[in-house]
Amino acid sequence: MEQKIPTMAEMAAEGKEPEILFWVGCAGSFDERAQKITRDICKILHHVGISYAVLGTEESCTGDPAKRAGNEFLFQMQAMVNIEVLNGYNIKKIVTGCPHCFNTIRNEYPGLGGTYEVIHHTQLIQSLIDEGKLKAEGGESFKGRKITFHDPCYLGRGNNVYEAPRAALEILDTELVEMKRCKSNGLCCGAGGAQMFKEPEPGKKDINDERMLDVLETGAQIVASGCPFCMTMLTDGVKHMEKEQEIKVLDIAEITVRANGL
């Protein structure tokens, strides 16, 4: 990357405290597609001049997939170790690149001693737009293209965040079309509840293929989302339908970066 990614360790060594911690998450750290989104979130943070840092090698899984799979021991082990790190750095505010990390740290860490103001990156983007710090200019034009938004379960139903990601799309000169199953009625991509890490149970079809029917119905050329797991599932779904030429799956952060030419 062009810019240097500041880590908490470095900042602390210099006696500095960033305004916000960017919690990257496991997918954002290791999954190639999600890594790109991670870099895009950093580009946005850098562009607007927010002082931020990442934990880097001190970050560890929030424990979300363990908890959803029923392994509360492992979840709490992960949580307590993470909380110790976060509290050690006196973290107050966290932005995550993943709705699962967002939900877990926001809702499930306070009971274990970790209370922070936690936002999802689409909420950060929304507030930057509201403050006039982010626009959609100087980059790629989305004019005339149809975009639909797939609500990640742990952002939407899980935490009632429906408008933030849409706000980031509404400033584009484009047509935002909703799928038949959207917002609180949104259909899961199939990855939640630790399904990402196992084969689905026997059935008629895969859930992401079912979701593709909704996408195709809208006639959208871009499916936007805000979750690395949805990203994988939707991208696979588009591949199964052999629609890779017609339909692109993009994260809200990627769209924002493209629209601003960052």
Partner: protein, 432 residues
Amino acid sequence: MVGQVIFIIILLGAVYLFGKNVAKVRRNILLGRDTDRSDRPAERWAIMAKVALGQTKMVKRPVAAVMHFFIYVGFVIINLEVLEIMIDGIFGSHRIFSKLLGSLYGLLIGGFEILALLVLVSCVVFLARRNILKLKRFSGIEMTVWPKSDANYILTIEILLMTAFLTMNAADYKLQLLHFGHYVQAGSFPVSEFISPLLPSGANALANIERGCWWFHIIGILAFLNYLPYSKHFHILLAFPNVYYSNLKPKGEFTDMASVTNEVKAMLNPSFVPEATEVSRFGVKDVTDLSWKNLMEAYTCTECGRCTSVCPANITGKLLSPRKIMMDTRDRLVEVGNNIDKHGKDHTDDKTLLDNYITREELWACTTCNACVEACPVNINPLEIITEMRRYMVMEESQAPASLNNMFGNMENNGAPWKYSQADRLNWAEKE
């Protein structure tokens, strides 16, 4: 006089029997673990007013919502008429409110008649949706003979009750016109005046019809009351407390397990001395491991299938059906309760909710997406039961699918669900 005595005996008998069965349901619900839902009372009253009384979650399906609203309003308001019937029955009076209310009485009876007609039409449409149109929502592996019959019984009983009510009014109206006996001019009959031409013209025959329908209607209502504790229709009562005790936290937040926290703290810090807590199993194997709220939800479920119809696993042909989770929980709880009645408190059969009722394949198919929780018009949470049973399988039995065990292993060793080293966690910053 004889009529009054018979009426009072039937009334007392019905109330006693109902009270006894409700007490049994209450006892069964309280077999569950304790959970505190006494916080934030103002918010709880508000959500009850909105979701239970105002039925705001029904509107997502407008056709069913409108007709359900007719039946609901009809049920609640026609109860005023039942109050009059009770008083008449006990004191041997006839249309006692007519003297008290004067011209308002006509308005009331007229209103009841219109509601009764709307209830009747709605019930006929609901029967048609279930039995002729065969809506997909009303089928599924859990919709066996009894659940289907239960629904049809409820609708048929309501149709019969409304028919009796309207026929009674039609006969009364005709008798009023004949100035027969005590049938004083009272009420207005916008619906039953159209039924009255179908009735015989003889005063005695009319009086018999009027009395017959009166008795059928009130005995029917009391019998229906006693049917409730055995039926999915119990939701008309439990919906209110069930919504009052709703989970007020974000849906994405899963319950914490204090028992685990103690052990984890002790593991991370050997000098930590945990508070003495009740030793119980981790997660849920049988209904008595569930919380009383989970059990109340099982009795509240009216098997409408909104949960199952939005479940991504069910939609794509997996075995999981959130409605089945609730129905199995209730069936098992009733079984456990009956065992206690028959064999005493400490009796155990060799059955459990897990495996005997709910299979592991169902539980592992869940994506924890909360669609079922969102869809439930009375805020039932099938997901919590699923998660609790996963906790039992994983923490008590170490029986997770192999790929999930791999994921656990990776997380334990490298702090990520995949096999990547924690030392490589910042490599993304070097690329591009």
